[in-house]
Amino acid sequence: MLDAVWVIPALPLAGAVANLFLGRRLGTKAGWLGTAAVGAAFAVTVAVLLDLLALAGPERQHIVDLYEWIAAGDFRVQVSFLVDPLSMTMAMVVTGVGALIHLYAVGYMEHDPRVGRFFAYFNLFVAFMLVLVLADNYLLLYVGWEGVGLCSYLLIGFWFERPAAASAAKKAFVTTRIGDAAMLLGIVLVFVHFGSLEFGPVLGWGTSPSTVTGAGPSEGAATAIALLLLAGAVGKSAQLPLHVWLPDAMEGPTPVSALIHAATMVTAGVYLVVRSHALFEMSEVALTAVLVVGLLSAIYAALASIGQFDLKRALAYSTMSQIGFMFFAAGMGFYAGAMLLLVCHAFYKALLFLTSGNVMHGLDDEIDLRRMGGLKADMPVSATWFAIGALSLAGIPPLAGFFAKDHIVGFAYLSGRELAWVLASIGAFLSALYIARPLFLAFFGARRNPSHAHEAPWRMHAPLAVLAAGAVVSGLLLGFRAEGVLARFLEPALGLAEPGHADLSEAVLIAISIVLAVAAVGLAWFVWASGRVDWEAFPERQPELAGWLSNAFYLNAFYAWLVRAPGMGLGRGLRSVDDRIVDGAVNEVAEDVERASRLAPVLQSGFVRSYALAFLLGAVALLLFLGLRS
């Protein structure tokens, strides 16, 4: 069964092709087809996972070579898949959550004329995502990497008639492309230094015949490689400083936001870092960079999220913040923690997005928190889902988010990074705050929207139920303790991170984080739901602060200022250079020749005697020439 791993991406790919060409004819059935494809992929994944578990811990690593992909000179790269705990974990998330979101999308998209295409892209995304996580070498990973980028582009711009959507799509692609380009360089460097792109030889487990320099790269080279890969990860995972595309990406349909921009694709960066941890560990700088980026992103995004009134944008920033935590964990070498958060986050963030999808559905695409409120009356079920998701994220025990986040924050302290721990705690507090905010704004307090929201059909609740369950229990099951089930499962691939000892006991740490979470939620209730605070007047009272928050510290504008104007200037400049100088020279030469030819009428005056004169001139010159020779 392990050898059938290639089936996992193949199924959604098939679904994609089918939907692409038959989509029109299938109509709404396209959705079912797509869901079935992903579901089947999930089934296969489970089967493969079982086979993997059947193996003993150390042997849990199986490579499936399909065929030689590119070969030139001594460069060889295979199309080969890797089955190991890490890839399987990702595959499970992708297929599982993916299937649920597909199911949800069936209902969500059924009225869209291009539903066929939607599911084609959606399946295609899953396929590429699976290639990404299952790949056994960096180049194949890069295939998936770019592929998901493409699908994200297509899906963000799915409603391309809307200029906003089109631009957002382009922005997303280009921004991530910057990271990807860096990553490509990183991959090239990997080959230059390791003579191979397969994880085995590069990451030090197993060996490959084609290893050129067994010694491995120097510290500097390793740093360079790691940082370049990190750049790619940062782009894909919307971390500072390449995060600007994520909020705009919310122009896409909500299931897209849920699947791609919350559950799976954006976590690819985390996967990359975790996967190549061996590389990162070769260089202190790189790891620290990961840590710093993560932490900063977490806090930055948290603050930004608080400033948003657009529900989805708020969620988007929260995603960024959460992924920041994952990077933070990875940066500390606490990969299992990162993965745990990744999994749990997949559940509750997907849940949150889909629920907000319900809300939009209910309020015919109303997205502004200021025009919601008190919705729990109209859509109790959705309210419950959202509450679960929010609290889970906020880190209220015993929900999933609690364990996931708590391990990470705690690890910071236990591994003796006090400052980091403080900041992380602040981050945790803020995240609880920002996620409780939409909860209260939307579902509690006064109703600020005249129209009556209507609850979504059951078909759309079924997946939510499952996700909710996940959001509740996944933490308990997988990561009750820092060395929980998941950690131990992942051990062969990631090893165990052993925190150092510290003066505060774990219990205290747990207590602290619980207190922070509860306090945050309480504060949120006080400000946004109790009705005692006129939060709507806040922007008037604190224009700067509000502006900084709602505009995410104007980074977007800053980039625009930094890139667009100079870029355009350069472009115009070069274009005029091209027209005036480069091409101008060419035309100039031509004109000169023509000008010279205008001499003809002057020379050929038509007078015999001037002809004779020219003749004689030539004669004299010629004889003179000879005379001088003799």
Partner: protein, 482 residues
């Protein structure tokens, strides 16, 4: 009592035939006033054919290298040149007949004069004595002066006068050259001169002057810059048929004489005349190519291009000896065919009385008369030296000869100039195919001349694809026997 030498007329049979036929045509034409011009044409063509046959038989001439008291050389070079000239003459006769019958100016003397001119051209190719070169030169010149003025159009007459005055002027220089050569060596036999010059180190002043003056004379005839000034006016003014004939024939003949004189007589002075030819070639190529761009009359344009082509032939001749000669010969063949064809098309397009020779009248020709346009395109491409036409191989030939002689710079100049030249050739193509015709102007679609042009086109292509057909002969012809 005068001891007359052995009179071996074999090697001059072609000339005898030509002159004989010319006289007959003349008498018939003059005496029997009502004779059908077509008959005269056939007669003259027969004469040309006979001459051609006679010269072919001379290919395997095994007699003395020079006959008639050493004034005539009997070698394969002469044969080849004769054939080229005779070919041009045949085409020229047909054109002329058509042209002047069309304009109603046909007269029996036309054929006679063409034949006389031809005889002069063929004679000059074999002349082994400077004075004979001069006489032959005069024969063809006088005939051509008249032919240029054969039509009563003002342009034609003016052309005749300009051609005549400058021609006489240049032949005076040439004659002085002969005198100097004689003064330097005491003889006018090409061989004798070179023998007396050979190994001589000092006292070359007269010889060099002679060379210079002779070069001037030839340069005038082949219209190399700066002795080219007459060319545009004469080519434009003369009746197109005649222009065709002389643009091909005169150049070939003059170049033949030039090759013989420079490679035989002045062979000892090779190192002195090489740079001379180099400069003339460069000037002609550049001036011809550049000045042509401004032209608005196609005959004038072709005239300038013929100047440039003279330059190309000279480029080949910078390589003294066989390589130079054979490449030049090939170039002359290609050039003659092409220019004859081109002028043929011009004649057909320009209709009666040269009404439409301006480039403007070629607008949309591709629509009005696709065949003519297509043929002209082929010729223009050949002139521009684009494969697979004869013009391309010819250019390659002369350039490689030049490169071999170390004159690669000249080759480079030539190649670049031919790009400039390509511009005005292309411009005609643009007019013909890329512009829509304004107004329906009829073109002369008479079959026979069209057929002739077609044959020329075909041979341009064939020679372009299978140059081997002639190159072998040319290599043998390039060996001057003396």
């Amino acid at each position: 009592m005068i001891r007359t030498p052995a009179v071996d007329v074999g090697p001059i049979v072609p000339e005898l035939i030509l002159v004989g036929v010319a006289v007959v045509v003349l008498l018939v034409g003059v005496i029997a006033r009502r004779v059908e011009p077509l008959a005269l044409l056939y007669g003259s063509l027969a004469g040309v054919a006979g001459a051609a046959a006679a010269s072919i038989t001379l290919w395997d001439w095994d007699g003395a290298p020079t006959v008639l008291a050493g004034t005539v050389a009997a070698d394969r070079f002469g044969v080849v040149v004769r054939l080229i000239v005779l070919g041009s003459a045949a085409i020229g006769l047909i054109y002329g007949h058509h042209y002047f019958e069309r304009s109603g100016e046909g007269r029996p003397e036309l054929y006679a004069l063409v034949l006389f001119a031809t005889s002069g051209m063929t004679l000059i190719a074999v002349a082994a004595d400077l004075i004979l070169v001069f006489l032959a030169l005069e024969i063809l010149s006088l005939a051509l002066y008249v032919l240029a003025g054969f039509s009563a159009r003002l342009g034609s007459v003016e052309a005749a006068m300009k051609y005549f005055l400058l021609g006489a002027f240049s032949s005076a220089f040439f004659l002085f050259g002969v005198a100097m050569a004689y003064g330097a060596t005491g003889s006018t036999r090409l061989v004798a001169i070179s023998e007396s010059l050979a190994g001589r180190t000092s006292g070359l002043a007269l010889a060099l002057t002679a060379m210079g003056l002779l070069a001037i004379g030839f340069a005038f005839k082949v219209s190399a810059v700066p002795f080219h000034m007459w060319t545009p006016d004469v080519y434009q003014g003369a009746p197109t048929a005649i222009t065709a004939f002389m643009s091909a024939g005169t150049k070939v003949a003059a170049f033949a004489a030039l090759m013989r004189v420079f490679n035989v007589t002045l062979q000892p002075l090779t190192w002195d005349w090489r740079p001379l030819v180099w400069v003339l070639a460069a000037l002609s190529v550049i001036a011809g190519s550049v000045l042509a761009i401004a032209q608005t009359d196609i005959k004038r344009m072709l005239a300038y291009s013929s100047i440039a082509h003279a330059g190309f032939v000279l480029t080949g001749l910078t390589a003294a000896g066989e390589t130079g000669i054979s490449s030049a010969l090939y170039y002359l063949i290609a050039y003659s065919l092409t220019i004859l064809g081109a002028f043929g098309v011009v004649m057909l397009v320009s209709a009666r009385g040269e009404r439409r020779t301006s480039l403007a009248s070629y607008t949309g020709l591709g629509r009005r008369s696709p065949v003519l346009a297509g043929l002209l395109t082929l010729f223009l491409l050949s002139l521009a030296g684009i494969p697979p036409t004869a013009g391309f191989i010819a250019k390659v030939g002369v350039f490689s000869a030049a490169t071999e002689a170390g004159a690669w710079a000249l080759a480079l100049i030539g190649v670049i100039a031919s790009v400039a030249a390509a511009f005005f050739y292309l411009r005609v193509i643009v007019l013909m195919f890329m512009r829509e015709p304004e107004g329906e102007e009829e073109t002369d679609e008479t079959l026979v001349p069209k057929l002739v042009v077609g044959v020329a086109a075909a041979s341009v292509l064939v020679l372009g694809v299978f140059p081997g057909l002639v190159l072998g002969f040319l290599d043998q012809a390039a060996v001057l026997r003396w």
